[in-house]
């Protein structure tokens, strides 16, 4: 069966494959940000952390020609921004919104500057190839076979993190501490939880994951860096975290949904239905808006989101 001369099976395969690919960085960044938000940190720096992950991931991959080192470079880039965020908001108790936006602007400036300085602003590709594996039998299934079971190793690793993070949040002492600290830091402190350390760990994890997401984009997926290449994906991840109710499973679903809407837009352009491309490009964002409207009021923000803590200041 064909549609405007394009094979429908191919169309669906491409759409599913692209959708899942687009979903990865969103899901990864959101998973990490669950911990920041649950610990009471409203992380508007996530966009900057992700962008920093893109650049330093790309840079490491370009220099070493290694995917693994590239990913590690990205993680380091995200983590550095997160620690800066942590120092300012947890330690010095500067307003989180202010710091988050500042970090995002700072990361855009820094990566832009370094990219021009080190690469002359030229788009060069890193000479890396993320290895793929093809799962026998399953990859022969039409549509979902190639879209799901013949992917890069890193792709599988990313999705395997969803249950890991669910476990971390609900079944470990660290997860419990995080959930308590964002809800009532005084109660957590009184119970013997180290509020400051828990918050640092949480923002650190969020930074690692945002950096990882950025590196996925720049190293595993595109292999190039361009200025401002995250184009708001960090903020989308932030919204997905909230809309998913801080539940890793629902967040994964939200990321996939958003990725799919994105891919649908692309595919429709290729097929050439008579809709303006600008409108199609808006689809996923309209989706997020709708979700916000529908779910607003149903989500219960962590009670101490955005509130700094100091013992003895009731």
């Amino acid at each position: 069966m064909t549609l405007n001369g394009i094979d429908v099976t191919d169309f669906l395969t491409a759409m599913l494959a692209t959708g899942l690919l687009r979903a990865v960085p969103l899901a990864i960044a959101s998973l990490g940000d669950v911990f920041a938000q649950k610990a009471g940190l409203l992380n508007l720096g996530i966009e900057g952390m992700m962008l920093s992950g893109c650049f330093f991931g790309f840079h490491a991959a370009y220099k070493t020609e290694s995917v693994v080192l590239g990913m590690l470079g990205g993680i380091a880039g995200g983590l550095a921004m997160a620690l800066l965020f942590g120092f300012l908001t947890i330690h010095l108790r500067v307003d989180q919104v202010l710091v988050g936006l500042a970090i995002t602007i700072f990361a855009a400036g820094l990566t832009g500057y370094l990219f021009r300085d080190w690469y002359g602003g030229q788009n060069v590709a890193a000479n890396v190839r993320a290895r793929s594996i093809e799962i026998p039998l399953l990859s022969d299934i039409p549509i979902i076979g190639p879209a799901i079971f013949h992917r890069q190793i890193i792709f599988y690793i990313c999705w395997a993190l969803v249950p890991v993070f669910a476990w971390l949040l609900y079944r470990t002492r660290f997860g419990l501490n995080v959930r308590a600290v964002g809800e009532s830091p005084f109660a957590a402190d009184a119970a013997g939880v180290n509020v400051i350390r828990t918050r640092y760990l949480a923002i650190g994890l969020a930074g690692v994951m945002a950096g990882f997401a950025g590196a996925f984009l720049a190293v595993a997926d595109l292999r190039i860096f361009t200025i401002g290449m995250t184009v708001g994906q960090g903020f989308i991840a932030l919204a997905i975290t909230m809309l998913g109710g801080w539940n890793p499973w629902r967040i994964a679903a939200g990321a996939i949904l958003f990725g799919m809407l994105n891919a649908l837009g692309d595919s429709l352009q290729i097929v050439g239905v008579g809709i303006r491309t600008e409108f199609i490009g808006m689809l996923p964002y309209i989706g997020i808006m709708l979700a916000l409207v529908v779910l607003a009021g149903k989500t219960q923000l962590p009670a101490s989101l955005g509130v700094p803590y100091a013992r003895g200041q009731r």
Binding site: R173, R179, A180, A187
Partner: protein, 533 residues
């Protein structure tokens, strides 16, 4: 971690005597201009219940917070079992067997009971709830709590939460238990249950400290009493003294210690006015309303409030009193019936219309809905009137006027605060309450609805508040006083209604108040004879 719920470590041979468990020596703690603790000594013995008393702002909470690691003292030393102890954080205190139930609750509402209990304990990275759950089950049974470990704490009643707080502390194996005003929020039955638990802990050799504003509780329960005044320890009544003197003598001695030579406002000038009731100010006709969980909380309730009267509402907590107050204040929608103020029907017209019509409301949730904790005393003092002259003209706030007004309230109600610009949450519990009440009264409401206005207040301040309510009525206004303290209701009310299960089951005129009957009605909704009102 303790192997058995109620076995403290290490087990003591007979629980009593021996050397002191805790010695606090020369503790001083300053907050800006306020010297909250001034060279205070406190000795806690194993197997003893020790009451710490003092008026609002005397420094009781501060002293406990120093022992629990929440505050670092500026000066002084703490000995544990005779050895100098280092308590820099709450973790240090917990690890050395000092458990605290704080004045404001420290449970995380969205976590389950079991999660709250294991929070902060050190048992490996993976949460092993199975083991903890078995232990918790026995403790829940021990404390007569019929809730499951998986229930989220926000679904529990205040009394249940209180017991979970204690379980949480005992779960870690506590040798010193500090309780900061644990009874203020409990019903009499719950208080009895709590005391039974505390006596049991005493038998097992735990050193228990209890802070309370109720002298009778302290005298009933404690072996030793320490009194603080303005940050200083002014006296200790040891077990021998307490045993040797009768209750009335002890009471007088304590009151004298608490308030020093200052004139006491105790006395029965709060007694009701005798003037005949005037015209009707507030009319409720067959009002019904739902509670937070959607179940009917107020059922078909009718009531007239007249000029010059204090109408008391008695009842066990949770029988719809709070919801009734909120309906009158316009904070809660009624599902049927009508409400009229001064003859004008204002059913479900919202807070601002109702407040303009002359209704004032003092909530029992002072840090929650009653105030903006992060803002200053002055800002909180004008919270409800900030849009009016002289506090604001057009867009500008008149800081001077706001401050002057706040200072007047502070003066008049004796609110202990370093200054009007101090952040509200830094005040002691009782002083926050005084400020909220002062704020409502300053608006000169025709009808003032108060929910537990004396909760957390020392006896003198409580008397002052009741007197103020009385005067409010004597000036030709009406007061609806909701309280779980029957004694104060009997003192001050002209009429007294009993609420049971959302209904007003009886109304008594002053003169026909009968404690027995009222108690019966509160507990069962019926008179002993079986004749319903």
């Amino acid at each position: 971690m303790a192997n058995d719920a109620l076995t403290p470590r290490p087990p003591l041979p007979d629980g009593r005597g021996g050397e002191p468990r805790v010695e606090m020596l020369g503790i001083s703690k300053r907050f800006g201009p306020v010297l909250a603790n001034d060279n205070v000594d406190l000795t806690l013995w194993p197997g003893e219940i020790h009451a710490v008393l003092g008026e609002n702002g005397a420094g009781k909470t501060t002293l406990m917070n120093v022992l629990s690691g929440m505050y670092q003292p500026d000066d002084g030393q703490i000995l544990l079992d005779g050895q100098p102890a280092v308590i820099k954080t709450p973790i240090d205190a917990l690890e050395q067997g000092i458990g605290t139930v704080y004045q404001h609750f420290t449970l995380v509402p969205n976590l389950s009971v079991i999660e709250n209990v294991v929070l902060g304990t050190k048992t490996g990275f993976r949460l092993d709830l199975g083991n903890a759950e078995r232990q918790l089950q026995t403790m829940l049974a021990d404390f007569a709590l019929n809730t499951t470990p998986q229930t989220e704490v926000r679904h529990l009643s205040i009394g249940q939460r209180q017991r979970i707080e204690i379980i949480k502390v005992l779960f870690r194996g506590t040798r010193v238990l500090l309780l900061d005003e644990p009874t203020s929020v409990l019903t009499p039955v719950e208080v009895e249950g709590l005391f039974a638990i505390l006596r049991r802990l005493r038998e097992q050799g735990v050193a228990v400290v209890i802070i309370t504003h109720k002298l009778d509780e302290a005298l009933d329960l404690s072996d030793r009493i320490t009194v603080l005044r303005q940050g200083r320890k002014v006296g200790v009544l040891d077990p021998e003294t307490l045993a040797a003197s009768d209750r009335e003598t002890s009471r007088l001695r304590i009151v004298e210690l608490m308030f020093g030579g200052r004139p006491s406002s105790e006395g029965s000038d709060v007694a009701s006015g005798s003037a005949a009731p005037g015209e009707t100010l507030l009319t409720l006709s067959a009002i019904s309303a739902d509670g937070d969980r959607g179940a009917p909380a107020v059922k078909n309730l009718s009531l007239d409030l007249h000029r010059g009267e204090v109408f008391g509402i008695a009842g066990v907590d949770g029988n719809g009193q709070k919801e009734l107050g909120e309906v009158i204040a316009g904070q809660r929608r009624s599902t049927s019936g009508s409400l009229a103020i001064d003859g004008r029907t204002l059913t479900n017209q919202g807070v601002s219309a109702i407040s303009r019509a002359g209704i004032g409301y003092v909530t029992d949730d002072r840090l929650g809905e009653g105030s903006v904790p992060g803002q200053s005393v002055a800002e909180n003092a004008v919270l409800k009137t900030i849009g009016l002259a002289p506090f604001s003209r057009k867009f500008w706030l008149n800081r001077k006027a706001i401050e002057r007004h706040a200072e007047a309230l502070i003066e008049q109600f004796d609110v202990r605060t370093p200054s009007a610009s101090t952040q509200l949450t830094l005040l002691s519990g009782g002083n926050i309450q005084k400020l909220l009440l002062a704020r409502e009264l300053a608006m000169k409401p025709k009808v003032l609805v108060c929910n537990k206005p004396t909760y957390g207040l020392d006896i003198r301040t409580a008397q002052f508040v009741l007197k103020t309510l009385r005067e409010q009525a004597n000036d030709g206004n009406a007061v609806l006083l909701i309280s779980s303290e029957l004694d104060e209701l009997l003192d001050v009310s002209d009429r007294l209604g009993v609420m049971y299960n959302g209904e007003l089951v009886a109304i008594f005129e002053r003169g026909e108040f009968d404690v027995e009957t009222i108690g019966q009605l509160m507990l069962t909704g019926r008179r002993a004879t079986g004749v319903a009102a």
